[in-house]
Each structure stands twice: as C-alpha cells, then as structure tokens.
Symmetry: C2
Subunit: 144 residues, 2 copies
C-alpha cells in the first residue's frame, strides 16, 4: 500500500525535473530541424528545376505498382508533408491541386524518398480508388 | 497408323496454303506497324518536352522496387527498343549513355509502358547489379 500511495505523491522537485525534461525535448526537436539532430525531421536540400518543380513518382506502398508521375513545387511538398496526402503543382493549369479533391481518390502518404541526385521524389501511398483520371488504377495502363 | 502417316504427308496444295498464310501474317505485321493492327507493334505518339526528352521510371520487374528515374530522347528510346537494354540521354553531359556500359550494371528491358498523358515512360527491367552509382541497388535509398 505504501508503494501505491507513493506513486501518486508528486513532490515539488519532481515537477521541476519534469519541466526541465520537457524543455530539453523541445530544444532537441528544434535543433533537429535546424542541424539534423533528428534525421526524420531534417529536410534535404532538394533540387527543384528552373521552373521550381521536382518530379514525384507515386507508388502503391502495398503492391509496389507505379501509379503516376506528377510534379511538386516547394509549396505543394510542404502541404504534402503537413497533411500527409499528396498535393501537386499542375503544369498546365499552373495551380496547386490536392490529389482527389474532386474525385475523392486521395493518396495517403506512407513515406517519401529522394534519389541520389536529390532531383526526384518517390512517394509511397495508400491509393483510395483509382490514381488515373481515366478510371484505371494506374496511369501506366498501356504497353509499347 | 493411317492417321500418323497422314500427318507427315504434305501435299502441294498444303504447301501453297502455308505460303499464303505466311504472306498474310507478314502483311498483318507490317499493317500493324502502320495502322495499329497489332497493338504491341504500334509505337504511340509520345510527348517529348521542349528539349526532346521524356522521363522514364525504371522499376525492377520482379520485386517492383523503383530503381531510378532517367531521361530519354527519341534516339535513346529507339536504341532501348532495339537492344532491349536501357539507353538514356544524359542532361548534364548531353550525350546518350547505355546504362551499365562501364559498370556492367545493365538493365534488360522486360516491358515498356506509357502513361495517360503520353509524357512519361515506365520501364520494367531485370537489373544486373546496382542501379545507383553509389552502389545502392536503388537511387531512392534516403527517406525524408
């Protein structure tokens, strides 16, 4: 019984220690963003082309099927990272477009990879419905 | 026994029919190239960009792993189709390069697909050795 009552007893010094620990974690997170202390937080210096774009290969994380290739600018990549759903830049309409915003065929981001040249992305997704506007699951449905 | 001997007996009229059939197949093949009679033979009207290039996603035909993305012009695509080994156009060196010509890490082409917009290729290959110059099997070995 003594042990149980002790577990609920929080002294002033314990509160102080908890506050200090919390500050340390926050500091580490920020440092991670700035200096790469936490690999997962660090964004690589990606190479966007002259138009500010980078191609992204979209792959089904489960089956490995390549679904489509689209382009991102910095803003669409930020949105993709934040919302964990793909957002691209339309080169023809010159606007950002959240994949599936009208069709509902969204892509939930599972992981984002970049290549050795840092000029191409590979995004593994959970595809809801079809990736292609034709109704095909993948845009690559025709063979030469 | 009669049936067996008949199967080896080839009459003049049979030879003629075979020749006619052979001519028909050849004609269909050629027609296929010109008019699309055989889908596999017809080359689609691909959209090359202003620099005459089209991106090609290279995927391991066996595992589904995305190995790299490189660019092709018409000449490198023709070579790829003819030699059944990938050949790309180097945007930095501005020359054609047969993948693996120095390293030996060639990519044997299994199938070539094109997307709904006809502006991207997906090539499924048998990768000999590593695809990436860093020694990694895939160029996409780093995660954001």
């Amino acid at each position: 019984m003594r042990a149980k009552s002790q577990s609920h007893k929080v002294t002033k010094s314990q509160v102080t220690r908890k506050k200090v620990a919390k500050r340390k974690v926050t500091s580490q997170k920020l440092q991670g963003r700035r200096t790469g202390g936490r690999e997962k937080r660090k964004l690589p210096q990606l190479k966007f082309d002259k138009k500010g774009l980078i191609p992204a290969v979209i792959q089904d994380y489960n089956t490995g099927e390549v679904l489509m290739v689209a382009y991102m600018n910095k803003d669409s990549l930020k949105i993709t990272l934040k919302e964990k759903r793909t957002c691209f830049y339309s080169r023809s309409r010159k606007v950002l477009w959240r994949k599936g915003e009208t069709s509902g065929n969204i892509q939930k981001v599972k992981s984002i990879w970049y290549d050795c040249d840092k000029d191409t992305l590979l995004i593994k997704v959970e595809q809801i419905g079809s990736a292609c506007h034709t109704g095909n699951r993948s845009c690559f449905y025709r063979k030469i």
